[in-house]
Point group: C2
Chain length 138, copies 2
DNA sequence: TAAATTTTGCAACCTTGTTGCAAACCAATA
DNA sequence: TATTGGTTTGCAACAAGGTTGCAAAATTTA
């Protein structure tokens, strides 16, 4: 397990630091998306705010995590499970936000449906965000 | 035209003020979504920042405009065209963000496709945001 | 018109995110 | 293992975006 985490960093050609190991572990131990604020709390305020911002950005750049657009204008981050790499994300799944507990889930098995856009427009990427009540809050 | 705008405010039981008339007119004259910053520029800095924030929030509450979640974490606002009312929005259409010009469109005629969510989850609302190139930038 | 209510502008504040830079750290080499 | 060079970190300072309390101004009601 510990080994896995260092491997992910090595494969992305990132140096192994306490900070990166701890933040990556947080994502692996939580089966949901995390915000910058979540990470600040979960890490016990051990790391500087700025370092967390930079680490998250690095992970996004390297294809380790992806961002999730939310209706309330906060950025959420979650582990990439498909074959994402530096500069190329392929996180084509639906995201679910529970209105009761606030948890954001990656529905990795739910594909993005096709959308008919008008003539003249050309689509590049589609984001689908579903709000509702999750399995734990039902 | 001028009459229409005051009617909208009256129907929502809002006092008629210069501020509200001007902001509402901006939405009617622009066939695209506007951000707080857009409104500040378009209004010629005539109104206070805070007043614009409060006016937008009031319009959202009254069902006059709706917010659009964007991938770049900025809030966009657009006129509601369907029968939205205080506390009840029904803006079930797809939104399109042009990667070239940055314009956000309401695709009012493109319905939200059905999404199969897993058992245990119950959906309440679905947001679909498509990125790509718009008809003007093609 | 006058009173009651609502809206506005201002100042002050908060949250979130960014940048420059020196110190600390990590990885590679001798 | 010690040295070295490049990378990462923490700090301070800053900037954008957004909120709150309150008195003055504007609007609605009577
Ligand atoms: Mn995801
Ligand atoms: Mn819309
Ligand atoms: Zn829940
Ligand atoms: Zn365009």
């Amino acid at each position: 397990m510990e080994q896995e985490i260092t491997d992910i960093l090595k494969q992305s050609q990132l140096s192994i630091t306490d900070n990166r190991l701890k933040i990556l572990k947080l994502f692996q131990n939580n089966d949901k998306a995390l915000s910058h604020a979540d990470i600040e709390k979960l890490s016990g305020k051990h790391f500087d705010r700025v370092t967390i911002y930079r680490t998250l950005q690095t992970f996004v750049d390297k294809g380790i995590i992806h961002t999730i657009p939310t209706a309330d204008n906060s950025i959420m981050y979650a582990l990439c499970k498909e074959a994402c790499s530096e500069g190329h994300h392929h996180d084509d799944h639906v995201h679910f936000l529970c209105d009761k507990c606030g948890t954001t889930y990656c529905l990795d098995n739910v594909n993005i449906p096709a959308v008919n856009i008008p003539k003249g427009f050309s689509a590049h990427q589609t984001n689908v965000l579903v709000n509702g009540v999750c399995k734990n809050c039902k």
